[in-house]
């Protein structure tokens, strides 16, 4: 199901606005966010997605939301289960971005997804906003990160990525290489 959305979104933006641009960052971010909803959120209603282009702002905004446990709660529950020190919700959300940290909610998770997203957004000098439980984290286009507690909690996780379309790379057609490649 979400394969279809990811490909349709990319196809729509390619055909109507960015025929000569590489939209892979959009694809990758959507895929990683959808996988997070499925793997981690325990959301009883799945997730919701919204994608829109704002030409005057040079932005493609994608929003993915779930009504699951929330990242800080999930992480602190995991830490408690593992007998590790449980920190604040702010610390927990920061930990979620640490490459290699995973709550192991599925056997194959390795804690790379959020770091991937943050790296992509940073490389495109774009904006990443995450609201989860009572924490808000904002990675700004210059790469700086601001975290704060919110007076009202959010029952789940909301991620909003505002891609700066001025930083989309030109689409390159790669040739197929036939020589063997050793990993």
């Amino acid at each position: 199901m979400f394969n279809a959305y990811v490909f349709q979104a990319k196809d729509y933006f390619n055909r109507h606005f960015f025929s000569d641009k590489d939209l892979q960052p959009l694809n990758t971010s959507l895929t990683e966010l959808f996988n997070n909803v499925v793997d981690h959120s325990e959301s009883k209603v799945g997730g919701y997605v919204f994608t829109q282009y704002f030409p005057n702002k040079h932005q493609i905004v994608i929003s993915v939301c779930d009504f699951g446990n929330g990242i800080p709660k999930t992480i602190n529950l995991y830490l408690e289960k593992m007998g590790r020190n449980v920190g604040s919700h702010l610390d927990a959300l920061q930990l979620a971005f640490k490459k290699g940290f995973s709550t192991e909610s599925t056997p194959t998770n390795r804690g790379l997804g959020l770091d991937n997203i943050a790296s992509i957004v940073k490389s495109m000098k774009s904006d990443l906003l995450i609201i989860s439980n009572d924490v808000c984290l904002n990675q700004k286009p210059d790469g700086s990160v601001k975290k704060e507690l919110m007076p009202e909690g959010f029952p789940g996780t909301l991620v909003v990525i505002s891609f700066n379309t001025k930083h989309l790379k030109p689409l390159e057609i790669e040739d197929i290489v036939h020589a063997e490649y050793t990993l």
Partner: protein, 103 residues
Amino acid sequence: MKANPEKVVVIDVMDCVSGTTTPFEAASLFKKMKESLVDGCSVKLSMLNVTPMSSSFLNASFGELFDLFGYQTIKDRITLIEYKPSQAKQIKDYLDTISKLVK
């Protein structure tokens, strides 16, 4: 685990999987690669028409192979064919990354 140099299996990734985004889609690719390695074969992995792979897909395919056989076996016995440079880089970078992480 030594390979029989005469036994080479070609696996066409897009023949095994319906997509490259979820860990469930990766399961059949992992199974084929694992069986080939257990049988002592070397594997040539055709990347023709493979769509960009999510971290979850890589975790459930190459990541699981890494845990079972180690990075050196993957380097010795799995090669890519019919690939784009960006695909090769993605898999290589992924394996380099997880080799530096402690699970």
